[in-house]
Symmetry: C2
Subunit: 215 residues, 2 copies
């Protein structure tokens, strides 16, 4: 499958690399076409891995990942272009956290909204699915590296077909337990979980942890 990965940070690198390793063709998009990290990805993975602008990556992909940081996500997606998002599944990983006043971070969105909903409203023809935002980058793509994958991934989105595609992709990453929390308003819970995640990270001094729902 052709996949566009928007963002060149730790998350974008992890997602794009894993996708190439699984045999997909991946275009990593950045604000500018001369982004050094995107170029390095391309250099390492050509011909399966290429790079370009947000717009190039969005045009390339049949399925897209938003791996930009929360504060810049909407601008990055505007740069990607509405027409390039239309009709495509977008897996939104970004978290609307504000670290500008230090630790602990606050949320950039009120509790009556979420970044994923803002994205869905801004691009109504895009099929937004919130997922993967509740774990560190390495676990997103190698869930089995922790407790044989015996922990949970969540997802939220309005379109059942889009969620089925995301579920299949997550399973190809190694996720065994995927909990659908309903429509895109469920992203509020997934994003507001982050302040707890950040505290646990601080206490454990490692990001390699996740939660398992026991019932």
């Amino acid at each position: 499958m052709k996949v566009g990965v928007l963002g060149t940070g730790v998350v974008g690198q992890a997602i794009a690399t894993r996708l190439v390793q699984l045999g997909h063709e991946v275009c990593m998009g950045a604000r500018n076409s001369d982004n050094e990290k995107a170029r390095a990805f391309e250099k390492q993975f050509l011909p399966k891995g290429t790079s370009g602008t947000f717009s190039d990556a969005a045009a390339f992909g049949e399925l897209l990942f938003n791996c930009t940081n929360g504060a810049g996500a909407l601008d990055a997606l505007k740069a990607a272009g509405e027409a390039n998002l239309a009709g495509k599944v977008l897996i939104d990983i970004s978290n609307p956290l504000d670290f500008s006043n230090g630790f602990p971070p606050s949320m950039l969105t009120p509790s009556t909204d979420s970044l994923a909903e803002q994205v869905q409203r801004a691009f109504p023809r895009c099929l937004v699915v919130k997922s993967l935002n509740t774990v560190t980058a390495k676990l997103m793509v190698e869930p089995q590296s922790l407790s044989s994958g015996n922990h949970d991934m969540f997802m939220a989105g309005n379109d059942a077909g889009a969620k089925a595609k995301v579920k299949e992709l997550l399973q190809s990453f190694g996720w065994k337990h995927i909990v659908d929390v309903g429509d895109i308003t469920g992203a509020r819970g997934l994003e507001m979980y982050l302040p707890l995640w950040v505290r646990l990270y601080g206490q454990f001094q490692t990001a390699t942890f996740n939660v398992k729902v026991v019932r």
Copy 2:
């Protein structure tokens, strides 16, 4: 131990009943001294269980539980009286959820604050520990009824001695895994977890679930 339980709802009843069963003396407090549910508790559990106003319960207890609802918590604690809270451990279970606009609920506090911090600021001589707010009432007091207790309880608070007392009490309820997330600002994460909890509740159609941290 003498314990004051503020609140007569499902949470207050579960906590007060369990405490009496464990041999403690419990006064259940309500806004008015003629509260029917508090009277019924007293009738069932005299002499170990008694009832009164918020002020009566707070004066009675060496240790206190805030089991009021989030919207009314600060008023209930003001009615309990600053002098009756001073120097005592207060386990704050209440969640600042606003269901006035339906489902999903929003938070009554911004992400830069929490109800537990508001309580701690309003009553600086009280030793506030946030805990138990992340599970349904039955699991608070009978954690072993789910998966042999193989799931986690969180707590946050400024005073190490107070948290040690709370940990001991939680262990007497059956909690085996208690994760300290640091000072009282950690309550933000514990409270902002609720929107996810509410979504999971909606999807599972049961409140009998919890999370286990895998690491």
